[in-house]
C-alpha cells in the first residue's frame, strides 16, 4: 500500500510539472506548527484512514514516524490525488494548514523496537 502511495504521489508531481500546474511549494517545507497541525489533522479527517498518530490502518497507509514523503511530494499528492483518497484542494485545506499537518507528522516520535515491548518480544 505504501509503495502504491509513493508511486501515485510521484506520478502526481510529474504530471503537475508537465502541465505547468506546479504545486504551490518549492523543495523545502514551509514552517509549520505541530500543535495546529494535530488539530487540523483531526479537523479535516486525516485520522479516519491514517489513525490519530498517522500509524495507518486498513483504509490508509502509515504516514508518520517516519513521514514517507518529502513535503513537495506530499503536497502534490494531497492536492491532486484521484484515487481512493480524495483530493484536499487549497479551497478546503490551506497551504499553511497542510504545512502544519506536515510538521505534526514529523513531530511524531519513532516507534520503539518491538523487542523492547514484552507483548511483542516473541
Amino acid at each position: 500500500m505504501k509503495s502504491r502511495f509513493i508511486l501515485i504521489a510521484a506520478a502526481a508531481v510529474l504530471s503537475a510539472a508537465a502541465f505547468g500546474n506546479a504545486p504551490s511549494f518549492g523543495a523545502a517545507a514551509p514552517q509549520g506548527d505541530p500543535a495546529k497541525g494535530e488539530a487540523n489533522f483531526k479537523r479535516v479527517g486525516c485520522y479516519q484512514c491514517h489513525g490519530y498518530q498517522g500509524q495507518g490502518g486498513r483504509e490508509g497507509p502509515r504516514i508518520a514516524a517516519p513521514v514517507p514523503l518529502a513535503f513537495p511530494a506530499l503536497n502534490a499528492f494531497v492536492r491532486t490525488t484521484s484515487g481512493d483518497m480524495p483530493p484536499f484542494t487549497e479551497k478546503v485545506l490551506s497551504n499553511q494548514e497542510l504545512a502544519d499537518i506536515y510538521a505534526y507528522l514529523q513531530s511524531i516520535p519513532a516507534p520503539p523496537d518491538h523487542k523492547t515491548i514484552p507483548l511483542l518480544a516473541q
Partner: protein, 653 residues
C-alpha cells in the same frame, strides 16, 4: 385459535388407528418412538415426550373441560418434528401467531432440544442462528411473526444468505380470515409470508397439514444443510398449531420422514484434472480462498493442496480457511495475484473484485490485476446456484476454467491430481518455492511485530494492534475462539494471533448488514458453551452493537459465557470517510462530515449499558495500561460462566 362447538371428546379410536397405520420403519412421532433423524444412532438420555404419550394421557381423561383444547395440539407434533431433527435452540422474539408452538416447546417439549431462547428483536434472533450455525455446524431455528417479525428479521436473513449460512426461520401466520380476530391478528396476517424474503432464502413452504409440515420441515433441514448452505423459511399455520391432531388428522397417520443428507457435489474429474495440470506446471500459482472452510475438513484439505504446490494462499477470511501463521498463508494479496501465472479461486464471494480493482474516486477507475497470460481457475457453488434481483452474485468475470462444485468436497481430488501431474523435473523447483516462502514468512513476521510497535502503541485512543496484543496474551493458552470479524481492527488479530482450529474464526456477516455482530456473537457463544465451554471472544463494533443491544440481555438471561470487548471508536467511520470523500470531490470541506456519522454528544457508556441488563461491565478504558487487568478480570468471569463487556475507546481502525 381452534374454535370448536358441540364437541365434548376426542375420537381416540380414529387417532390410534392412524398411529397404528404408521410404518414401523419410519420415524414417527405419533408412535412415541421419535428418532433423532439428524443424528441417528445417538440414544436419548431419557424418554422424550411425544404426541403418543400425550395421547395415552388423554385416553385416561377423555372428556375435556369446557373452554379447554380438546385433544393433542398440532404444535406438539411440530415439536416432535423439531426434536427428530436435533434442533437445540429456537431463537425467538415471542409472537402471538406462533403461540401454539411456543407453548408446546416450553411445556410439552420440556423446553429442551429445542430450548426457547428469548430474543429482543427478530433480527437478533436470526443473527443468533447465523452465528450458532457457523460454530455448531448445524442449524438452529428462529421463530417470529410472519409479517412484522419477518420484516424485522429480513436483514439478518440477507446476511445469512450472503454468508452461506444454514438457518431455519419459522413464522406464524393465520390465513383463514374467518378464523382470526380483527385488529392486530389480521394486520399481522399475510397471504404469502415467504414472498417477503424469497429472493434470499433457498426454499420456503407453507404447509397445510401436519403431515405436510413434517415432510416440509425435514426437507427444509435437508435443503439448508446442502451446500451452498442457505437459510430456509417455514410458515407455521396457526390452525395447524392450535387445533387438535385428532381433529386435523381424522385418523390419518402422522409420520416424520427420515432425514437424508445430501453429499455436496465434487468437481467433474476431467475438469479437476485440467486444473491440476495448470497448477502443477505454474511457476507462480496462487490460491485465493473465501469460504473453503465449510467444515474443519476444508481447512485440512486446503493446507494439503497448498503444501503440495508450496503455493501461497490469500485468505479473504470469509471463514476459517487456513491457519494464519502457516508460512503459505497471506491475509491480503493483491501483489501475489498480480505476479501469479495461475490463480485458483475457491468459493469466492467476489471473483471479479479479486482480480480487478476499482477506486472509489470520481473516475471509478478499474484495473485488471493479473499479468498477461495468467490463467484463472474458479471452483465454486456460485456457478451452480444463482438467483436474480439482489446483486450478491457480483460482477461477471471471465475465467479459463470454471468448475461448478463445492470446493471443500473437490479439494482432495484436486490435490491427488496435482501430485500426479507434477513432473519429476519440477519437484525441486516446487520444494525451493516452499523454502523461499518459509524465509519470507519469517521476515514478514518480524515486520508485523515492528508494525505493531509502531501502531500508536501507547496512544489514547487505544490502537488496534495494542488491543489485539493485550487480548492475545490472556487467551493464547486457553481454548479460545473469536466470534467476530476483525476487519475494523485492520485485521490485527489475524496478524498477531495464532488461528489454527476451524472453530476459532467464523468470518463476518456476509451481507455487510450492520447489526449482525452482537447477536451473531451471542449465537456463536451458545455453540461454544455446548462444545467444551470454549472461551468466546467478541471484539464488537460500537455502532453495530447499538442496532440491537438487547442481545446482551439474551446472553445474561441464558447464562452464555462471552467476553465482549467494545471496539468503541465512537463513529460510523466508514460513513465518515464516504461523506468526507464526497465533500472533498465537491470542494466543500469536511468540517461537517461528523453530522450523521458520529456517536458523540453524548458518548454511549457501554459498561453501564451492559450493567443495566445485568451484565458485568468495565470501562470505558482509554489508557492502554489499564487493558490487561480489565481483560484478565473479564476472562476470569467468563470462565466462571457469565457474559462480560469491556468498553475500550479506540482509534478508528
Amino acid at each position: 385459535m381452534a374454535r370448536k362447538t358441540g364437541r365434548t371428546g376426542v375420537d381416540r379410536r380414529k387417532f390410534l388407528t392412524g398411529v397404528a397405520a404408521t410404518g414401523a420403519a419410519t420415524a414417527a412421532a405419533a408412535t412415541g418412538a421419535v428418532k433423532t433423524a439428524a443424528a441417528q444412532g445417538a440414544a436419548p438420555a431419557a424418554a422424550r415426550p411425544s404426541t403418543a404419550a400425550a395421547q395415552r394421557e388423554l385416553a385416561t381423561n377423555a372428556v375435556h373441560a369446557p373452554g379447554t383444547t380438546p385433544g393433542t395440539p398440532g404444535s406438539d407434533f411440530m415439536v416432535d418434528v423439531l426434536k427428530s431433527l436435533d434442533i437445540d435452540y429456537v431463537f425467538s422474539n415471542p409472537a402471538s401467531s406462533a403461540r401454539g408452538i411456543h407453548e408446546s416447546i416450553i411445556n410439552y417439549g420440556g423446553n429442551k432440544k429445542p430450548e426457547f431462547i428469548t430474543c429482543m428483536h427478530e433480527e437478533s434472533a436470526v443473527a443468533m442462528t447465523h452465528g450458532y450455525f457457523k460454530v455448531a455446524g448445524k442449524p438452529a431455528a428462529a421463530l417470529c411473526h410472519g409479517t412484522v417479525g419477518l420484516q424485522h428479521a429480513a436483514m439478518a436473513l440477507y446476511n445469512a444468505w450472503c454468508d452461506r449460512a444454514a438457518s431455519i426461520i419459522m413464522v406464524g401466520n393465520r390465513m383463514d380470515a374467518v378464523g382470526r380476530q380483527p385488529g392486530v391478528p389480521t394486520i399481522h396476517a399475510v397471504q404469502d409470508p415467504g414472498l417477503l424474503v424469497r429472493d434470499f432464502t433457498k426454499w420456503d413452504d407453507n404447509p397445510q397439514s401436519l403431515q405436510h409440515f413434517a415432510e416440509s420441515m425435514v426437507r427444509a433441514y435437508k435443503v439448508t444443510m446442502t451446500p451452498p448452505y442457505e437459510p430456509v423459511l417455514m410458515t407455521l399455520e396457526e390452525k395447524l398449531q392450535e387445533e387438535a391432531i385428532e381433529e386435523l388428522q381424522r385418523g390419518k397417520p402422522l409420520v416424520i420422514p427420515k432425514l437424508n443428507r445430501v453429499s455436496p457435489p465434487a468437481g467433474d474429474p476431467n475438469a479437476v484434472r485440467e486444473a491440476a495440470k495448470l497448477l502443477a506446471m505454474a511457476d507462480n500459482p496462487v490460491i485465493v480462498a473465501d469460504r473453503v472452510g465449510r467444515t474443519p475438513a476444508g481447512v485440512k484439505h486446503l493446507v494439503e493442496l497448498a503444501e503440495t504446490l508450496n503455493c501461497p494462499v490469500v485468505d479473504n477470511l470469509g471463514r476459517m480457511n487456513m491457519p494464519n501463521q502457516h508460512h503459505l498463508c497471506q491475509v491480503g494479496g493483491a501483489a501475489l495475484i498480480a505476479q501469479a501465472d495461475v490463480i485458483l479461486g475457491l468459493e469466492l464471494t467476489d471473483l471479479w473484485g479479486t482480480v480487478n480493482s476499482m477506486d472509489d474516486s470520481v473516475a471509478m477507475e478499474t484495473a485488471y490485476r493479473p499479468k498477461a497470460g495468467a490463467k484463472i481457475i474458479n471452483i465454486s457453488m456460485a456457478d451452480v446456484y444463482i438467483r436474480a434481483n439482489f446483486q450478491d452474485f457480483m460482477r461477471y468475470q471471465q475465467v479459463d476454467l470454471s468448475i461448478g462444485a463445492d470446493a471443500e468436497a473437490t479439494l482432495p481430488m484436486l490435490t491427488e491430481y496435482v501430485k500426479q501431474a507434477i513432473p519429476n523435473d519440477r519437484k525441486a523447483m516446487i520444494a525451493e518455492r516452499g523454502e523461499k516462502a518459509k524465509k519470507a514468512h519469517a521476515g514478514a513476521r518480524e515486520r508485523t511485530l515492528q508494525a505493531a510497535a509502531g501502531n500508536a502503541w501507547n496512544a489514547t485512543p487505544i490502537s488496534a494492534a495494542r488491543l489485539s496484543a493485550e487480548i492475545w496474551q490472556h487467551i493464547k493458552n486457553e481454548n479460545w475462539a473469536l466470534v467476530s470479524r476483525d476487519s475494523s481492527l485492520s485485521n490485527w488479530p489475524h496478524r498477531l494471533w495464532d488461528f489454527r482450529e476451524h472453530h476459532q474464526f467464523i468470518g463476518g456477516p456476509g451481507g455487510a448488514g450492520i447489526g449482525y455482530g452482537l447477536p451473531a456473537a451471542v449465537g456463536a457463544a451458545f455453540a461454544h458453551r455446548d462444545n467444551g465451554r470454549r472461551l468466546a471472544i467478541n471484539i464488537q463494533n460500537d455502532g453495530d452493537s447499538m442496532y440491537a443491544p438487547g442481545a446482551l440481555w439474551t446472553a445474561v438471561h441464558h447464562s452464555i459465557p462471552l467476553l465482549t470487548i467494545m471496539w468503541n471508536n465512537r463513529a460510523y467511520h466508514q460513513e465518515i470517510m464516504h461523506v468526507q470523500r464526497l465533500a472533498n470531490w465537491r470542494q466543500r470541506g469536511v468540517e461537517n462530515a461528523h453530522i450523521g456519522t458520529t456517536i458523540w454528544d453524548p458518548y454511549v457508556d457501554y459498561a453501564k449499558l451492559a450493567q443495566s441488563m445485568g451484565m458485568t461491565g468495565y470501562g470505558p478504558i482509554t489508557d492502554p495500561k489499564d487493558l490487561s487487568a480489565a481483560i484478565k478480570r473479564g476472562i476470569d468471569a467468563v470462565k466462571a460462566g457469565e457474559p462480560v463487556l469491556i468498553d475500550v475507546v479506540t482509534q478508528p481502525r
